[in-house]
């Protein structure tokens, strides 16, 4: 019998000014990370609505990561501070509902941190792969 490892689907929300540029830098430096990571560009990490995170899980994502400028470096001065509170609260709530903690993450990646972006994604994909399929926050209708 052949066992195929579950290929996770990761949605990464990256702020335009730091993390998206950091992802570009990872590309420039050819720092590989799994193709399971798909990036969505948002102006700022504070643009990420909990609705988007849940939507991703509903439609079949196995992990969601939000990347923004380092605290203090937000292009809009304070966006990532709000994002930090919101996501801390949201992820804590998901944890409270018994959803695996490793499926969600917030990471601060600057435009200069291509290496960090790549390393973060490698690590995140690995952790989510280990968890296997997202059973606790899935919408079976989308899994056919």
């Amino acid at each position: 019998m052949q066992i195929t490892e579950h290929k996770p689907l990761i949605v990464a929300f990256c702020c335009n000014w730091c993390s998206y540029a950091g992802a570009d830098l990872a590309g420039n430096n050819r720092l590989n990370y799994p193709a399971d990571v798909k990036i969505i560009r948002v102006p700022c990490s504070c643009r990420v609505n909990p609705m988007f995170v849940l939507r991703a899980f509903q439609k079949g994502a196995d992990g969601v990561i939000i990347c923004g400028c380092h605290p203090g470096d937000c292009h809009y001065t304070s966006g990532n501070y709000y994002a930090r509170r919101r996501m801390a609260m949201l992820f804590s709530m998901l944890d409270y509902l018994g959803i695996e903690r490793e499926r969600t993450r917030v990471e601060w990646v600057s435009a200069a941190e291509g290496a960090k972006f790549s390393a973060t994604m490698n690590d995140f994909v690995e952790k989510v792969t280990k968890l296997g399929k997202n059973k606790r926050l899935e919408d079976l209708r989308c899994k056919k």
């Binding site: 609705m51 930090r84 801390a88 609260m89 992820f91 409270y96 509902l97 018994g98 926050l137």
Partner: protein
Amino acid sequence: MQKITTDALVQKAVELLNNNTVSYVLGWKKGEFDYDITPYVFKDEKTLKEEFIYSDFCGVNLSKYLVAKTKELAGKILVFLKPCDTYSFNQLLTEHRFNREKVYAIGIPCEGMLDIDKIKLNLEGISSIVETKEGVKVNTLDDKTIELEKQAILLEKCKNCKSKKHYAYDELLGEEGDVLDNNRFDEVAKLESMTAEERFEFWQSQLSKCIRCNACRDACPACTCEKCVFDNPNSGIENKSPANSFEEKLFHIIRAFHVAGRCTDCGECSRACPQNIPLHLLNRKFIKDINEHYGEFQAGLEVGQRGPLVSYTTEDVEPSDVFNKGE
């Protein structure tokens, strides 16, 4: 503490109505039985005298009605507020949801409201309920009498009352109480200390009861959106029924998130739920997290407060560190 009587409230209301201080009285109206009390807008002395009631079954928080009623009605409205209702009152004012000028608020004491559901767990077929010192005496249709202790039949929200102190009123009737020590986060802490599997099982079994009647939302004084995202076909997440366990969670997570930092923990959600889902445990989780990570915060303590999710400090905890407890 001297219990405030219906008569005292009626007398006050009639006085204010007759001297034209107010044109309407938002209060509670007697029902068919002793327990099915309905919020009601009284307009005249006669109805007030005949039908107004303030009893142990007046759990409904009247604050939210002010949003609609102050817009709908032309004159000033007298509203009776129990201590916990005053938090909602302030929070609504903070969010400019009604015009304070149009309201005359009277703070009234509350000794904890009763849950008819809990009474009915003990018996079916009630002919009357009489309040006693220790609780209630219930007479049944088959002519039996059962005595029940108050503590056992309190509404969920009253079991862990946070305050007997009023934070907003124009006038206070009866004695002012104090903020109480309470254990309202114990149940949250208990859940936190479980394993993720256990928590998942717990919430799965609770939320699967949801019939999406929206009673929690519609009773919630923090849910005063002109149009809820779940009712708005353009919002992208509109839905009318929980098609599966995901949608059950989606609704309750988003709702809890939307009221996070604004929820005063008035407990109306759990009281309104026809399926007895302990929804307050979701809101309390947020309140507990906020208290622990961003400093003690009680929504509705005063008008104009800045909520914890619309403020920040540069030293805030990282989302990954919020998890570093339990398990």
